[in-house]
Symmetry: D2
Subunit: 414 residues, 4 copies
């Protein structure tokens, strides 16, 4: 439904042509300094009209905070945010309304609800993600301030154009009898994951932080646009300075809720964490992340093919994952497809649409990642705080007990 | 946590060395004929010791139904099931307990809870999935009987060995300037999706329903076993005869809950639905599934790259998806890794372990898919039944309303 | 937290002095005709300034629908509603801010969150209930239209002044050795439950539908007002034409969720359903509701001390229950109480406050009852619709099976 | 449904004649010392056959822990418990099966599910509460050990026989024109709330800790038994040493979840907290609990008519509440009531039944109270721990901020 999360709980509302879109964000920690500007930054990265690669509609998307904050400080009560829809009139009837757009939500919404918004896919509109981005920005403010957590997403591919350092595709078939000796991820890509910043990402209209590749992607997107066609791509996201111990087995493993969050973003079809599909080809002896002692006495891992998660629980290494977005369904070229009544015909969608959504998807992926992190952090903080009041365990062998430094669980820094 | 689902709600319990593992399954439709044998069939497909490709422990894994059924008929009350652990003694102390197993849950469980089971990863044990398989079998009994739904999973790759017809890997890089002309999925693979049965799958110990590929996979797994190593793979699952209208936007889109369910299975790292990552390379004009009129007057699609889901809602076409399982972390060869106390050392895991989990993962993937289906079906049935009692809508233009055949929503057959 | 319900899910936001208060209502059946006026009616019954018995602030409380409705028909997507706060400035500092108001939420909000709204109790403000009333009106529109359900609440007592026919107080002590022969509820009161309408209730500013008693209550409230004091009371609510089979054992029995809903209304301290506390004094032989055959062949009960619920499940008889509201904590007369810093002092609250909340509580009680009904109806409709597709049960003795008229489960009328 | 709680989550299963009844308890703090005996103590207080006042069936009700504990210490994973049903055979057909028992769940279960257990009311069986009592005992172990919380319930009335000191019934009608001068609760009763222990309660087979009253109650229950009739009563429960800040507005106020929990116990019809219904008669000036400074510098209240909860949040004072249990529906004397098929007849229930359930209900009320406390404590611990990592607020006036001693939030002791 339209609510996500257990303790950090986001509920969104809104379609394309209603009065506004927005969200209620419940479970925000009290006493956090928060301004509209903290939210606006990410909304502005999401909004259309940022470059010639996205839809030219220039909507302001100004956030209006309704509740939960007084004199710039959160009260711990629900924060409601709304962004007005510039065009609130129900869409006029047009001939294209006779057609369900192929691979779009028009048809399934109608079948599911028996009625649909005049704008077609209703809540499948990209405008629904505004509430998510706002909620993510709230979560992120806390995560950054308290744990120094960095959530950075970027475009890793558009069509067949990949970041050159990004060798994550499964190879398959080319080496059946010998163990795989090829690298899992290139050193360049690993370095990128460790260092990339939003500032670096935003230097490129594609949001692919690699100049040469970004140029190719720009051309590819413009080519799609000129052909009245569209093209897909992938977004990769890295989370740094992750507290250890997040994730709630068995069903709410960290990667499970992360996958849930990502696949709930419109147009997504695929998700992988750490070495992902590529990792399925690598023998355990090469894929396992060996433990090493870190300067502070805790354990880290020499490699990080696990993507920062083991057994569904964060281990403090960077989390990185990739999300696949299909080519947008709405295209202007004529498509031979049936009308609602079954009669054959040809549909050419009117209006202006994104030929490629991945540049604008970057802040949405970051937002959903922040929401998942915040919710899992709240749950684990409950457990840690509650268990910390118990007396030390004296009846178990030492191998079954954490050495007495449990306070780090709450601080979370690695 | 350990509960999954909204109306069809599964709660599991149990570790490796406790008295039993099992589940409480709430929300089962009343009046369903159900026997222990219905559940046992899938548990036996999951259990170890089925072939030389899996761990040789031969556990019986007999299910004991505790409640919710009388004289072979469900009462609509919670069904509790349990399977006894054959070895219920806490594990003895051994030298290897000094080491957290690399890429295993030993370390993260200890950090999260401050205490861990003597058997190591506790709930990350594969035995936890017994409760899921039992719950899935209950769901499946209904889905099959009422809607003729077929849920069939099979092994689609082991290491680099893929079903030959399975061309789902993204190509990337090789064709930057021209639009992609290669096929998205091969006709052979599409045919396999339409026709494969569990009986066919079970003819092969690998559970890969293609004789030549299965032989190669067998050799690959045996090679890993002999090298005291392990190897990963992928499981593909198809769901046929899916009712239309399932999936709850915006956060509980069908693919989102499916991804959640799949990534909650131990050792999973990747998920894709329909054309998945491969589809991100294909322009919209080729990727869109055109609507066609079906003999019964309803709409279908000419292709099915969407994998049966559009806008997060099922459209009645087959759902198919792929899940990536990493190579098992526990291997017998020596690994240079740190002890809990940070001192360097070498760990060689004792005992017998699966060198490759994908053959046994097949019924687990089927179970989680059935659980998601059943839960989403229950939610949509509520909406359909509730809305069906309202008078027909007379104030909206015809393009916004479903033609008056809504009863098919409940029957679900396409 | 701020979300209530499983399938019909209400999330509210807002404090006294923020921009607006409101709610997102998820799970509304699609295809329902709904206008702002449907909601405004109940909001206007709730708003202050209706009579000299309530706070003189005359707020307009106009509802603004943000989403989920197009051309007067619900889309099945979330309906967001908001009502602007007339005075959105944070409250100015005043001397009384040094005091936590006795029996008010000022102190506990501060302790819980570490920070509090300048207006004091934050979300404990009566304005929070605006979102509930709006959500309840949406639910009620469906319940009335499809099932003819009537939800009518009225004031049954103010201070010690009771409806004369209302003999529900436990007697105790006066008859220890003989079985109780006194009536459980008077015939007049039972008749009132069967017939009272909102129109009748609204004839009285007290919302007590009995002229003589209402006059006494009016005097009692005015006396409290003149004494700068306050007085409590009770609201009784009846629900007629209830579908059978609602309520989800074991934890979400109908009366349990109803009690949850009622005790979540500000200032409530007590709840009883059917014969309630009074019923605990009556022997089973007199208290049991004997079954009788109804003209349509179904079973009804000769009496209804159970209040329409048996085993946590509705039986089709009228549901009636009573909710106790304490005397409002904020009073203008001086109170000898400590300041936040512990120093003794005297607090006289400024501003204008309701001397008695029960007249305005009537639509809030109705709203929460409607929300509970709608949510439970959606869950049971799922079960009924799902089970109805199974073949008839042939293997159980007839006493274990419902005779073949299950369609009535959905229609609900008795 | 059959799951209760957000972070401390209890899921129960089981009917009268199935293999076993039990529960899965999720969210238990790790590192807690816990034995089967900790649970058995409360199960034995609940079981039948304890005295001549309860049903003579002497069931052993031995608890079997299945998971989540190793060497006497909780692992933080789900704890499954089960208690075998001594008589697991489906009930034989008998003539009384033609009748739905009046005011029992037989009829509503059949209508809701379309099928019912041969034993009649299925999950409405008192045996369902075994899982609750086990879960409550687990919660209580933590609450007692860490916070010194005491949860003590006792029988406060049977039929019309009340604890003499218990003057909580509303007076009504007898004093319309003068303000109420009578006491709200007697000093004796207040003293009892402050001091009563389980040991004291268990000295009486009635579980009413007042010798003379207990004797009267005993006679009253025996009289009901001899008359083949039944009688109801009330259970009062006090919780001492409650941490401040528990309760989650607006819907999950402490008293709201408490009411939900209590009304989910079989046979309950009424709930009141603090002064309850009686309090609605008392003007605010007398009913308000004035703040006073406590020796440790924190604030307490001079009186406690609020029952330890203000604005839905605990204030550290004792919580006390009362639950009304109706007279058991199953009685042996003949009742003139219709058969399932509508034909008139006379039913005399066979078997042996509790003539009065309140003595055995005492540990069930304590268990549900402990479950609510534990769940709310886990949620508030999350908030406190999360907010405690934020820097001090410097931008708000002092009256909006908690003075810098927030650590007491976690310790909870007043």
């Amino acid at each position: 439904m339209s609510t996500f999360g257990t303790l950090f709980r986001v509920t969104t509302y809104g379609e394309s042509h209603c009065a506004s879109v927005g969200a209620i964000v419940d479970g925000v920690p009290p006493g956090l300094e928060l301004s509209a500007q903290d939210i606006q930054v990410q909304l502005s990265r999401r909004r259309p009209g940022q470059s010639n690669l996205t839809t030219p509609r220039d909507e302001k998307d100004l956030v209006h905070i309704q509740s939960g904050i007084e004199r710039g400080v959160t009260l711990g009560t629900p924060i409601a945010v709304l962004v007005k829809n510039e065009d609130q009139r129900p869409k006029d009837y047009s001939e294209t309304d006779l057609y369900p757009r192929p691979s779009h939500a028009d048809y399934t919404y109608l079948l599911k609800y028996g009625v649909k918004a005049s704008s077609g896919g209703g809540r499948s509109s990209a405008r629904e993600t505004i509430g998510r981005v706002a909620a993510g920005a709230i979560a992120e403010k806390y995560l950054k301030q308290v744990h120094g957590i960095e959530v950075v997403a970027f475009v890793s591919s558009v069509g067949k154009i990949n970041l050159p350092s990004y060798n994550q595709r499964p190879l398959g078939d080319d080496d059946e009898n010998d163990d795989d000796k090829s690298e899992i991820l290139s050193p360049e890509f690993i370095k990128l994951l460790k260092t990339v910043t939003r500032e670096e990402v935003d230097k490129y209209t594609t949001r692919c932080p690699h100049s040469e590749t970004s140029d190719k992607m720009t051309k590819r997107i413009i080519r799609a646009k000129e052909a009245q066609d569209s093209i897909g791509g992938t977004v990769t996201c890295v989370i740094r300075n992750v507290p250890v111990g997040l994730g709630e087995p068995c069903f709410d493993k960290f990667e499970a809720t992360l996958a849930h969050a990502m696949l709930s973003i419109p147009a997504t079809k695929a998700f992988e964490v750490g070495s992902g599909f590529r990792g399925t080809e690598i023998p355990g002896s090469r894929h396992n992340d060996m433990f090493i002692s870190k300067p502070d006495g805790s354990l880290g891992t020499a490699t990080n093919w696990s993507g920062g998660i083991q057994g569904g629980i964060t281990n403090g290494e960077d989390i990185y994952f990739r999300v696949g977005f299909k080519s947008p369904a709405t295209i202007s070229q004529a498509q031979a497809t049936a009308q609602y009544d079954g009669s054959a015909g040809s549909l050419a969608a009117k209006g202006r649409h994104d030929p490629c959504v991945v540049p604008r998807a970057v802040p949405i992926v970051e937002a959903m990642a922040s929401i998942v992190l915040m919710d899992q952090l709240l749950i684990q903080n409950s457990r840690s705080a509650t268990a910390s009041l118990l007396p030390p365990i004296t009846t178990l062998p030492p191998t079954m007990i954490l050495p007495p430094k449990p306070a780090t669980l709450l601080n979370g820094h690695q």
